[in-house]
Every structure is written in structure tokens, then in C-alpha cells.
């Protein structure tokens, strides 16, 4: 049994300690907004926040995050920066297929939390771990800047 604090709710899960957080979220808790992309922390589709930091949930065992605050895309609108990021994403029509965008939004929200006015280099550094096969990078960059301006 593992107890997790996800989006300010407590969940007790009957999974082994080494279960990746990704599958606990998706298959056990039923929060499917966090996506599976590569399974080895190369694409960023599974990004969630743990105590405010971006974490690749596909390689994070549940035992490592028990007792810590986990936030997923489903609750990011409760964070004022996250809400601004979502708004910017919608205003600039960033999404295409949309599959990677949960991870992109989680990564962008973390970036703006630590660097409210990021430079292009900051954006490159923070976002280059998140792959988008639809190639929405230019719009992601602009949306991050817009979300930063709207502070």
C-alpha cells in the first residue's frame, strides 16, 4: 500500500513500491491527463509536479513521492501561473494533436514559477526535454512569453 497526495487529495493505492507514478496515476487513480510517451524520461509527456518541481512520472517510483505534493494537469488551473499558461496556450492555439501538451504545460508552469521572465535560452533549457511531434515549439515559446507578460 502506498499513500499519495495527488491534487490535494489523499489516495491509498494497492501497488508495489516500485510502480512508476505514471501508471499509478493513469491506471489506478484514473487521472489520464498525464501521458505515456517513451517510458524512459526522454520525451516529457508524463511531466507532473512534485512539491512544485517538474518530474518525469514514468521513471519516478511511487515510493519516492509518498507524502509529497503531487500536482497533475487536471489541477494545474488551481495554480495561478498554470492558469495563465493554459490561457496563453488557448489564445495562441498552441495545440495540435494535443498529446504532449499536458507535459508541455506542466514544464512551462514550472519554468515560470522559477523564472517569471524567462529568456529564449531559459525556455530552450526548460522545454527541450519535452518533445512535440506536431512541432508546436514556436507557439509554445510565444505562449510562455505571453504567460510571463501577463503576470
Amino acid at each position: 500500500m502506498v499513500t499519495l497526495n495527488i491534487n490535494q487529495e489523499t489516495h491509498t493505492l494497492d501497488v508495489s513500491d516500485d510502480t512508476p507514478l505514471l501508471w499509478a496515476l493513469r491506471d489506478v487513480v484514473g487521472l489520464t491527463g498525464t501521458k505515456f510517451g517513451c517510458g524512459i524520461a526522454l520525451c516529457g509527456a508524463c511531466t507532473v509536479h512534485v512539491d512544485g518541481e517538474p518530474v518525469r512520472s514514468c521513471v519516478t517510483p511511487v515510493s519516492a513521492v509518498s507524502g509529497r505534493k503531487i500536482v497533475t494537469i487536471e489541477a494545474i488551473e488551481q495554480n495561478s501561473i498554470g492558469r495563465r499558461v493554459q490561457t496563453a496556450w488557448r489564445e495562441l492555439d498552441v495545440v495540435q494533436c494535443g498529446y504532449c501538451q499536458s507535459g508541455q504545460i506542466m514544464a512551462a508552469t514550472s519554468l515560470l514559477a522559477s523564472k517569471p521572465q524567462p529568456t529564449d535560452e531559459d525556455i530552450d533549457a526548460a522545454m527541450s526535454g519535452n518533445i512535440c511531434r506536431c512541432g508546436t515549439y514556436g507557439r509554445i515559446r510565444e505562449a510562455i512569453k505571453r504567460a510571463a507578460v501577463s503576470t
Binding site: L31, I40, C43, E74, W89, V94, R133, Y137
Partner: protein, 739 residues
């Protein structure tokens, strides 16, 4: 010409299950199949997919309804969308077409995914229920507007009769009919019952483009909110009561067989429910994917590799090169290319090669099946719902109407989800499963058991006159025929229309042109990939024309211009891209890197496009694409921002592949496995992209794929300008570009 039928839905559903509702006006509209004269006129000239599928469609001649509108008594309009949304924006642009003529707020259109039905939801250009080939808007452009206009006319007529006034004195706007003189109004919902009893007008007048209120205006994507809050449902997100999640392993060598497994060991793992085996695959079903994957490791499958155990990329290419020396089927033969080349003042020859490519969609391949005795339900994101239904019916022995396909948002299609191999696998396994199962490929399975963009080997030659002008052109393509498997009727006289697309109709005015196709099938499965035939042939044609320009010591832009004088739309995009890129200006030098600019132009998918790329090549040979300027004429634009987005997307997709991607085979096994060795473009590597749209009121062209097909030659021509190295074999990474 569309054929409309109207009926009133009583409380009892009178039509298929998906039309159940609260009652109201149902309009079924039919799209002419390809045999119809009107459709022929609508068909964009020289379109790849049009050509590719014309013959297929002729077999299913006649009119077939393919989409439905429902307006209920509360005025809500439901559009059952015959296309799937995989990022290309059609879940916004298709309802825009309807709303434009129906005079409703776009926000009042509810979308429903069409169920699997090839007769109801066939694409007029493709002849089947297919989302692909950049056809969605081309096919929907006229019928969707006609459907909206017809419904509007009926609603206005219904109101006018109630008010005993001339319909011509009434107008419709925002879902309300108004009698202008008296100001009387009635909402569509109040009118649907009366409207449904009216005869369907045989002809309706469509708005001229000058009166468009929605079409051509930037409209925010309707799927954006759900795709930014985690609520969008992709196939992989399906959850059903008592569902298992399954990890699968397929024979690493195509044609291989499962030899042994350790089932008991897997069953001892917490959460593992069942181990299923097929001849060529094994699946472990569990409470969740983590347990399934642990179970799969424990199963430790061993394989008998079978007849392909020694296949390598080198063996495939060697046999392809051998095949390419013989004459192929003749796709085009103007004048006498060979003898003219032999006599020409200058002869230029080259061999171009393009690798196998994986699709690597962000959403790995997956399929959920609930097979219970006499019904089969499938949850999947597919570009071909009817094919998915068909393969499941075949495997289960059930009639089609007992197989229900629930389509979903697709987390990247790019052609991968035109295939139903993974649906077939899931249904085969489901025959042994207890309860519903969601099968998910790991990224490794997804890349190693993809169906790949074919390897192509092209022999190309040209003869130049004393001025350097081409007088003859000969192009022989060797590669797999996807059409022969996917749509056999589209292969005529040995010519796969997809394999020669962009080559047979190369745009340059040259008096002697010969194009041949040699079909050569490798032992690994091949399939469509974004940009299809054009992605292959535009690269070869646009690279080689650049070679000819270099041979003639001519500017690549001027050289193309001189050969495109007959095509004003080609010239217009070429000139616009060059102008916006500052073609005549020197590149701003920023470092010791070698800089270059390359240009490419194409007509593909009914759209004209030119791209200019700027690259910087480092002394160690790393290529950085700094900027891509694109000019496009895709006819009437529906949603301009979607056009821009699709081009940005297509360019990044095409550049990733051109720079880095290849699938290679050793000992019959695909060697790549994940984003570590199948490198895709990331934020810091992405170029600045500028898109310039030429205004047009011509019928719309496709836009999902042209960006991809023009990307590689524009890039490699820029690399040539920067380094003098001509890239004749993709990916670029295979060439040593060190200074």
C-alpha cells in the same frame, strides 16, 4: 450536387443508434463519389491522392451519404464528423463550413465522431472512410456548405409558412429566422419539426466568398480547452470497468514465431492477471501497465526468427539497387528522354536514397477491445474506422453491425493510424482474454513494430543544352508499393500512383521526360508517412533541379523561374518565398559557421508551396536550421491560423526526418527503439518559421502534408549552398559535413 434527405425523428429512433436523440431535424447529405462529373471538376488537378484513389472509387460508384446533421428542438446542431481530429484542425474547420451556410454560432455546433461506416462516411477523394492524404477540407468544402445551406433554406421556408410570408423576406442569422418587415423571429429549434416535413430543395445557392463571415477568419480551435486541461480523450485514455491493461511483445523479426515463455513466473507478479500467446506475439494482462510490463519481462519470451533472420539494411538496399538497373513500368514518357540525354551537350546523373522511417507518434499505438460472444467493441484512435471494424469482423467472425468502433482524438497519426495491424493484434488476443483489455505498445514496440515509410532508391538523369537548360529528364524510382497492399485498384499497369507522385508530375517544363517505377518489396512492412509520395519525390526532383542549376552555374531561384513560366501559381509562391526570405541579400554572418540558403517549390495535395531554408553548419558538421520561410497558395483558406500551424508542424516533422531519422535493420531486427536513437527535433533545435499565405478564392488545397514534403530539399539545398556537399542520401546525419 448533393442529395439531401430529411426526416423527423420521433421519440423512437428511426435511424442508426448514433442518431438517437431528443428528436428534431435530421439531414443526411451525400457526397458524390468520384465517378460523378461534379466531383471530377472539384478534384484538384494532379493531386496525388486523387489519382491514387480514382480507380478505387469508381468501383464503389453511386451516391452514398457520408455525414449527418441533427438539429434538435432546443436548437442545438450536432454534426457527426466523418473525419478524425489528429491535430490538423478539422474538428474546427469542418464545422466552420457548416456554420457558415447554416447561419449559426460555431459554439452551438456539437461534434460527434462518426461510427465506422464506409458507405455513409466515405471521403469523396479517397473512396473510403479515411482521414489522410490532406483531403479532409478538399472533400468537405462543397458538401458541408451545401448541407448547411439546405438546412437553412428549409428552416427559413418553415418559418415563412407559419407566418404566411414570402421566404425571400426572411433572413437567418445566429440560429434564428427573422421576418425583416415585422421583426418576427423564430429559433431553429422551434422550426425543426415543420422544416422536416418540407421537401428538400434540389439546389441551393452558396454564399460568394465576399460574404463569408467565418470562412477565412482566424477561429480558435474548438479542441483547445480540453487539450490544455487533461480532459481530451485519446484512445490510450479509455477506462472500462474490470478492464485489464496489456503489454505486448511481438516477434522481433517479421515472420518469426514465439518459441517459449515463462508464464508461471509472470503470474506470480502482483497485479498480473493473464498471459496470452499468439504464434508471433505474447501479451501480459494486468491491473495496470506497470505490472503488465514487469510481467512481460518475467515471461522472457524467446523466438524462432524464421526466414528473415539474416536481413540487413545493406541486403535490402543491395537487392533494391540491383532491381533499379532494369527498366520499370512507365509512368510518363514525353518525347525521347534517353536518346536526348545521350546526345546532350552535358549529361548529369545521380542516385538518391531515402531511408525507412518510423512514424513515432507521441501517443504510442494502442487499442482497447471488449469481445463478448456476439459483440465486439473497440476503442481506438484511428484514421480508418471502417477498416478497423472490417478487420475485427473478419477475425471474430461477427457481422459488421456487431462490431462497434469508438473513435477518439489521435495523438499523432502521420499515416501510422491508417493501418489496423495493431487493431487486428488486439482483437486476436481478445479472443482469449477475460474481460475488456487495453493493449498498449511500449515506445520500443511502437518503433520496432511500426509499418515504415519505404526505402526509395531513385536513379535520375538529365541532359542540358549548351546554355545549361534541361532538354531531357529521366527518373526511375525503385521502392515498395504501399498502394498494392492498401488499395490494389490504384495500381494500374504496374504504376503505383503514390510512388510516382511528385515525379510523374514534376513541375518543370522540359520537352523530354521519362518517369519509371520499379516495384521492389523489402521483407519489412511499409506504409504511408506524412507527405506520402510527395515527401519522397519532391526531395529528389528539387534536389536534382538544384544540381542542374549548379551545373549550369545559375542561381537556383532564377533557374527554377525560367522553367516554371507556364505556371503562374508556382511562380507566385516561389517569388514570394524568395522575396520574404531576402534571397538576394547576403546572409548575416554570426560566427565562423558556414551559412547557406536553399529553396524548393512544389505542387502537392492541391496546394502550391515554396520554402527557403537558412542553415548554419558548424565546423564539426552539425547542421542548425535557423529559419524557414514558406509561401503557400492553398486556394481558399478556411481557418488561416490552422494553415500556418499545419505548415509549421509539417516543416518540423520533415526536418526531423531529413536531418536525423532512419530505421535500419540488422539480423532481421529494427535497430532503433526510442527517442534516444530515433532523434526528433526539440525546442532548441527548431527553426524560426514564417508562413506567407497567398490570398485565393480557388477551391481549397490540402495543407496537412505539403509543409513536410518541401522541407527536406529546401534544407539540403541550403546545406549545399553552405558547404558544397550535395546530400543525395537521407538522413543528412549520414553525411560527414565537417569543415
Amino acid at each position: 450536387m448533393i442529395n439531401m434527405t430529411a426526416k423527423l425523428l420521433a421519440s423512437k429512433p428511426t435511424r442508426r443508434h448514433f442518431l438517437q436523440g431528443t428528436g428534431g431535424l435530421i439531414l443526411g447529405f451525400t457526397v458524390p463519389s468520384f465517378g460523378a462529373e461534379e466531383a471530377r471538376n472539384e478534384r484538384p488537378p494532379e493531386s496525388a491522392v486523387g489519382q491514387a484513389t480514382r480507380n478505387v472509387t469508381n468501383e464503389s460508384a453511386g451516391l452514398a451519404p457520408n455525414a449527418f446533421i441533427r438539429i434538435d428542438r432546443s436548437g442545438v446542431v450536432t454534426l457527426i464528423v466523418h473525419k478524425v481530429e489528429m491535430g490538423q484542425g478539422t474538428f474546427t474547420s469542418i464545422p466552420m463550413l457548416l456554420a457558415e451556410e447554416l447561419e449559426i454560432d460555431l459554439n452551438n455546433v456539437k461534434l460527434e465522431q462518426a461510427p465506422a461506416d464506409n458507405s455513409l462516411y466515405a471521403d469523396p477523394l479517397l473512396g473510403g472512410q479515411v482521414t489522410g492524404g490532406s483531403t479532409s477540407i478538399r472533400g468537405a468544402w462543397k458538401p458541408l456548405r451545401e448541407a448547411g445551406a439546405t438546412a437553412r433554406v428549409m428552416l427559413i421556408t418553415a418559418a415563412a409558412r407559419q407566418w404566411k410570408v414570402d421566404p425571400a423576406t426572411c433572413t437567418a442569422s445566429k440560429g434564428v429566422v427573422t421576418h425583416t418587415a415585422t421583426g418576427r423571429t423564430a429559433g431553429y429549434g422551434q422550426l425543426v419539426e415543420a422544416a422536416a416535413r418540407l421537401p428538400v430543395p434540389k439546389q441551393v445557392e452558396l454564399k460568394p466568398s465576399s460574404e463569408f463571415e467565418l470562412i477565412g477568419k482566424p477561429i480558435k480551435r474548438l479542441d483547445s480547452p480540453d487539450k490544455t486541461n487533461g480532459r481530451a480523450q485519446f484512445g490510450i485514455d479509455v477506462r472500462l470497468p474490470n478492464m485489464s491493461v496489456a503489454a505486448v511483445a511481438l516477434s522481433p523479426v517479421p515472420g518469426g514465431r514465439l518459441h517459449s515463455i515463462d508464464e508461471q513466473k509472470a503470474l506470480t507478479i502482483k497485479g498480473v492477471r493473464q498471459v496470452l500467446r499468439l504464434d508471433h506475439a505474447v501479451a501480459v494482462l494486468a491491473d495496470h501497465m506497470a505490472a503488465a510490463r514487469l510481467g512481460l519481462s518475467a515471461v522472457a519470451p524467446t523466438w524462432s526468427d524464421g526466414p528473415n533472420a539474416t536481413v540487413t539494411t545493406q541486403s535490402i538496399v543491395a537487392s533494391m539497387a540491383e532491381a533499379s538497373r532494369k527498366q520499370g513500368a512507365i509512368a510518363r514518357n514525353d518525347g525521347n528522354a534517353q536518346s536526348t540525354i545521350d546526345k546532350a551537350a552535358k549529361k548529369v546523373e545521380a542516385v538518391y536514397e531515402m531511408p525507412f522511417l518510423a512514424h513515432a507518434t507521441m501517443e504510442p499505438v494502442n487499442c482497447t477491445v471488449d469481445l463478448r460472444g456476439d459483440t465486439c467493441e473497440i476503442w481506438v484512435g484511428t484514421q480508418v474506422p471502417a477498416l478497423a471494424q472490417g478487420v475485427a469482423a473478419k477475425i471474430t467472425g461477427l457481422p459488421l453491425d456487431k462490431v462497434r468502433v469508438h473513435n477518439h482524438y489521435i495523438g499523432g497519426g502521420f499515416g501510422r493510424r491508417l493501418e489496423v495491424d495493431f487493431v487486428a493484434l488486439a482483437v486476436e488476443f481478445a479472443k482469449q482474454a477475460k474481460g475488456p483489455v487495453k493493449f498498449i505498445y511500449t515506445r520500443e514496440e511502437d518503433i520496432q513494430h511500426d509499418m515504415y515509410r519505404p526505402y526509395y532508391l531513385d536513379r535520375i538523369a538529365a541532359g542540358l543544352d549548351a546554355n545549361g537548360t534541361p532538354v531531357a529528364w529521366s527518373h526511375r524510382i525503385t521502392g515498395s508499393s504501399i498502394m498494392a497492399r492498401f488499395a490494389p485498384a490504384a495500381v494500374v499497369n504496374g504504376i503505383d500512383s503514390d510512388a510516382v507522385e511528385g515525379a510523374k508530375d514534376q513541375p518543370y517544363k522540359i520537352p523530354n521526360v521519362r518517369v519509371e517505377y520499379v516495384r521492389h518489396e523489402p521483407p519489412i512492412a511499409t506504409a504511408f508517412w506524412r507527405g506520402v509520395g510527395a515527401t519522397h519525390n519532391v526531395f529528389v526532383v528539387e534536389s536534382f533541379i538544384d544540381e542542374l542549376a549548379a551545373t549550369a552555374k545559375s542561381d537556383p531561384l532564377e533557374y527554377r523561374r525560367a522553367l516554371l513560366r507556364h505556371s503562374p501559381r508556382m511562380l507566385a509562391v516561389l517569388n514570394l518565398a524568395a522575396e520574404k526570405a531576402g534571397w538576394s541579400q547576403p546572409l548575416p554572418k554570426i560566427s565562423s559557421e558556414r551559412l547557406g540558403r536553399g529553396i524548393a517549390v512544389q505542387f502537392a495535395f492541391g496546394s502550391y508551396m515554396s520554402q527557403v531554408s537558412e542553415v548554419a553548419v558548424s565546423s564539426t558538421g552539425e547542421v542548425h536550421v535557423r529559419r524557414v520561410v514558406c509561401a503557400v497558395d492553398c486556394g481558399q483558406v478556411i481557418n488561416p491560423d490552422t494553415v500556418v500551424a499545419q505548415i509549421e508542424s509539417g516543416i518540423v516533422f520533415g526536418l526531423s526526418a531529413a536531418l536525423w531519422n532512419e530505421i535500419t535493420v540488422d539480423k532481421g531486427r529494427v535497430q532503433q527503439s526510442n527517442f534516444s536513437d530515433y532523434r526528433v527535433m526539440r525546442m532548441r533545435e527548431a527553426p524560426r518559421i514564417e508562413v506567407h499565405i497567398i490570398k485565393s478564392t480557388d477551391s481549397p488545397g490540402g495543407i496537412g502534408e505539403p509543409g513536410t514534403s518541401a522541407a527536406a530539399p529546401s534544407l539540403t539545398n541550403a546545406i549545399f549552398a553552405a558547404t558544397g556537399a550535395r546530400i543525395r542520401k537521407l538522413p543528412v546525419a549520414a553525411t560527414d559535413l565537417r569543415a
